[in-house]
Point group: C2
Chain length 125, copies 2
């Protein structure tokens, strides 16, 4: 890789981190990787996300050009969300984390238990 120390000052770097710095952005992007999807089905794929927060998250991603929204009029309304080309470019980096979690997730959980056991009584969130 090729970033120098000013990396953290670069606003694009901050933008990338900020994109992930919330509970749902990456999860929703990930849930869309298998193709466009209606909001209801999305909630099923994800689990534990309220309709309101899902809508907010999708708007945020749409605003950033990562997700696009297609509305087919009618009643009941039918809407589908899918990744844009730009959004798809984020899948590989996200997947790198997924792979990391499968390899090292246990170590993190073990470290936390060790920390809790060693008298690090107030284990920070």
């Amino acid at each position: 890789m090729s970033h120098d120390q000013s990396f953290l000052a670069d606003c694009r770097a901050r933008l990338a981190f900020d994109l992930l710095a919330n509970t749902w952005n990456s999860v929703v992007l990930w849930a869309l990787k298998d193709g466009p999807c209606r909001p209801g089905a999305l909630r099923g794929r994800i689990g534990g996300i309220s309709p309101k927060v899902l809508t907010e998250t999708l708007r945020r991603l749409e605003c950033g050009g990562l997700v696009d929204r297609r509305a087919y009029g009618g009643s009941p309304p039918r809407v589908e969300y899918g990744l844009t080309a730009l959004g798809r470019t984020l899948l590989a980096p996200i997947d790198a984390f997924g792979a990391w979690a499968f390899e090292h997730g246990d170590e993190v959980m073990a470290a936390r238990e060790r920390y809790a056991g060693e008298g690090g009584d107030p284990p920070p969130p």
Copy 2:
């Protein structure tokens, strides 16, 4: 990649996302990539982080086994934080995002401006 749809249900996956789902974890990890560092210097490398939040973040990462803390007694106290072996394994995935930001960050910012201009007046955070 090799994750099936149950990926999102796997608690290790959630753990990985949660590690990034806050403003500072990834930034601090990244700032430590060039070697161990004292808190004061870390704040300089990062910029915009308060001492309190830096300490909290370091504790959190230490608890997860990603960072270790070495205290050399004395007065004034001298402390250094550095990545553990486990922490270093996270650098590659984080860097994937950094690289992504350099390639596509402009597109996201452009999309946001477009969105704001098109009457998407309330541009969500």
